[in-house]
């Protein structure tokens, strides 16, 4: 690994620049990875452990055992005897600085040891219920369902509507075409934050407030998508479309059977982006959605962390759920994503 990291343009020679850039990369990776890894690890801890300070690195929990004659499980401790020998004991009760314990091998007899001589045993333990509880006890299942719905529907509509517009703008001659294209391009730089107030009023006017369709409709017509697909469609030869016209295909069929399949690579890139955008959307759903049964995961998670700000074990587990799909998409398709971003400058 070290050899791989330190490999430079001139093999065998390491100068100060190489060391510095190697240092930058390692440090950067650490700065990026540690908070995320820390949140992931913490999401698997028990509530007690999440709240303990100083924190432990690996999710652990105390070891306990069942002993005949005792109703409750007893916690397991390690007893370091004066001789230096160690022994596993189960704690029965604690009084002052003395603890009543029993030897796990001979559980019939209890005896007393000073507390300073015993330490509690801990095990690696993943608290998966952090993930399942919020789904059952809180509305997170609904949030996830809503987010999946918004993401899938909005992405399909984005692909269809934007490709249709791009088709019109790249392959037809009609009056006002350039004006329409310029109009769409000019909105490329218009941020939601500037128009969020009136856009919400439009949503209210359409009776789509607190409705998932209100979230969807406002996001599907993206100038980025139209622009990206149009650029791609310009590379499809017009001959193909005319050949299809001669072949008695209607214009709609040309779109559906010729243009869409040929745009598959560009559509895939747009689909990836759309899924990520819609999954992560925050400000717009925050404005549109008001009742918890309509919340998306991001909104629900934000509301939850405001309301139950001490339940970090749940908050973190749901945070991991929220970042998981995007992470998987990125792991599988990172090449397309980074190249798509570098190529088109969209995010």
């Amino acid at each position: 690994m070290l050899k791989f990291l330190t490999r430079t343009r001139r093999p065998g020679k390491m100068d100060i620049t190489d060391i510095l850039s190697w240092l930058w990369l390692t440090l950067g990776t650490a700065v990026i990875a540690i908070p995320i890894a820390w949140a992931m690890l913490s999401s698997l801890k028990t509530q007690a452990e999440v709240n303990s300070f100083p924190p432990s690195l690996i999710p652990q929990s105390t070891v306990s055992t069942q002993v005949e004659g005792y109703d409750k499980d007893l916690s397991v401790w390690e007893w370091t005897q004066a001789s230096g020998e160690t022994k596993k004991v189960a704690l029965v009760r604690r009084i002052g600085i003395k603890a009543t314990v029993l030897d796990m091998e001979k559980p019939e007899k209890t005896f007393q040891v000073p507390i300073s001589e015993i330490t509690q045993l801990k095990d690696v333990h993943f608290q998966w219920s952090n993930y399942t509880d919020p789904l059952e006890r809180f509305d997170f299942f609904t949030y996830i369902k809503n987010t999946v719905f918004v993401t899938v529907v909005a992405t399909i509509l984005t692909l269809l509507l934007n490709s249709m517009a791009a088709f019109a703008l790249s392959k037809y001659k009609f009056r006002g075409k350039n004006a329409i294209f310029m109009l769409i391009l000019s909105t490329l730089m218009l941020p939601l934050s500037v128009i969020m107030v009136p856009a919400f009023i439009v949503i209210v006017g359409l009776n789509l407030a607190d409705n998932l369709w209100g979230v969807i409709f406002a996001t599907v017509a993206t100038p980025t998508g139209v622009f990206m697909l149009r650029q791609y469609m310009l590379t499809i030869p017009d001959d193909l479309i005319e050949a299809a016209r001669v072949d008695a295909a209607s214009e709609f069929r040309i779109y559906w059977r010729i243009v869409l399949p040929l745009c598959a690579p560009a559509l895939a890139v747009l689909a990836i982006f759309s899924v990520i955008w819609r999954w992560n959307d925050f400000l717009w759903p925050l404005i549109v959605l008001s009742s918890p049964e309509n919340y998306t995961l991001q909104i629900g998670l934000n509301a939850f962390q405001g309301q139950f700000s001490v339940e970090w074990h749940y908050i973190l587990a749901m945070t991991v759920i929220a970042l998981l799909p995007v992470t998987i998409v990125f792991l599988v398709l990172q090449k397309y994503i980074t190249e798509g971003v570098a190529g088109s400058g969209v995010k």
Binding site: A39, A221, V226, S250, R253, W279, I315
Partner: protein, 329 residues
């Protein structure tokens, strides 16, 4: 599996044939070339509803008062919203303004923008240059540095909130090193620092990628010529890379400014709504609160603030377009 997809495709095909019928009728009526109108129509309808109409409405609302939502129920009050927003004893001192929160937000946004844009630009530039030096592993590190960009603002806010919490990892490290336990997000200056830090952490990868693309566009042979001349790598950076990259960097810088002015999401989550107090309240948050989360919803005032911010962004965008045009030559 293959049968299933073939089956699904045949259903889709049948459905599309149904959709096709009315379009064939329209095509007969209006001719082939005008079918472009039909294809662009759904998109234009949504654009009109959610972009063009709101732009018009934002301006219209900015000149009306009252608390009614419907535009025809709102009295025209001319420039009153603007004059109230801009009514200040001294623009340097938010407390002297009629809407002190707005001016606090403006001040906060100004400083945030300055620090965030500078910080991100420097970090992204260094990272891009370092990545560009790599012969192997470039794709791997590029992906690592880009990954945070794909996270949601809520996720980023929560991850860092946890990291910086009273019982968080950072405090554990600080204590270990003999420092004092600090509740970072409740101290004015610390919280401001961390908002900028988290923003850089969040968005740096995006700008790294764009700068890296610019770096890769610099022809290799220029460097090779420099190497033959015995130019050191540092000198190469200052004398070749930076001058050739400057047009690109300017475009990136303005883009960064545009993005920074709109700061809201992750800062809002991280600081529990702009706290402590109003230390991290930004303009977008002011607009959001004025229009949506205050007792009396002041759409007119919020719109006026939006229009002011929109004008600032428009100016930046025009500069960017101008710079981008210049960079092409």
């Amino acid at each position: 599996m293959k049968n299933l997809s073939a089956f699904l495709f045949s259903i889709l095909d049948k459905f599309m044939r149904l959709v096709e019928l009315p379009t064939v009728y329209v095509q007969k009526k209006i001719g082939v070339q005008r079918m472009g109108y039909l294809f662009v129509a759904p998109n234009m309808v949504l654009f009109s509803l959610f972009v063009f109409l709101p732009v018009g409405l934002a301006i219209a609302y900015a000149f009306t008062g009252g608390t009614n939502m419907l535009i025809w129920d709102r009295p025209f009050i001319g420039l009153e919203n603007f004059s109230r927003l801009l009514n200040c004893g001294s623009y340097m001192d938010p407390a002297s303004c009629e809407f002190d929160l707005f001016w606090t937000a403006v001040h906060n946004t100004w400083w945030y923008t300055l620090l965030n844009a500078t910080g991100t630009l420097v970090m992204a530039l260094i990272t891009a240059v370092v990545l560009n030096r790599l012969s192997k592993g470039k794709a791997l590190f590029r992906s690592i540095f880009f990954y945070p960009v794909l996270l949601s603002p809520v996720v980023v806010g929560l991850i860092w909130k946890w990291f910086l919490a009273r019982d968080g990892l950072l405090n554990a490290l600080v204590l270990d090193l003999g420092g004092e336990r600090t509740i970072f997000l409740l101290e004015v200056w610390w919280s401001r620092f961390w908002v900028v830090y988290v923003s850089i952490w969040f968005h740096m990868g995006f700008f790294t990628l764009i700068i890296l693309a610019g770096l890769q566009a610099i022809p290799r042979d220029i460097y090779e010529a420099a190497k033959v001349d015995g130019t050191s790598e540092w000198r190469q950076f200052w004398r070749i890379t930076l001058p050739l990259l400057t047009p690109n960097l300017l475009v990136v810088a303005v883009l960064l400014l545009i993005r920074s002015v709109q700061v809201f999401d992750e800062a809002w989550v991280l600081t529990d709504g702009g706290g402590p107090g109003t230390a991290n309240t930004f303009i977008v948050q002011f607009i959001y609160q004025t229009a949506f989360s205050s007792e009396i919803r002041l759409y007119g005032l919020a719109s006026a603030a939006s229009v002011l911010m929109g004008l600032a962004l428009l100016a930046l965008t025009l500069i960017q377009v101008w710079l981008a045009k210049k960079a092409e030559y």
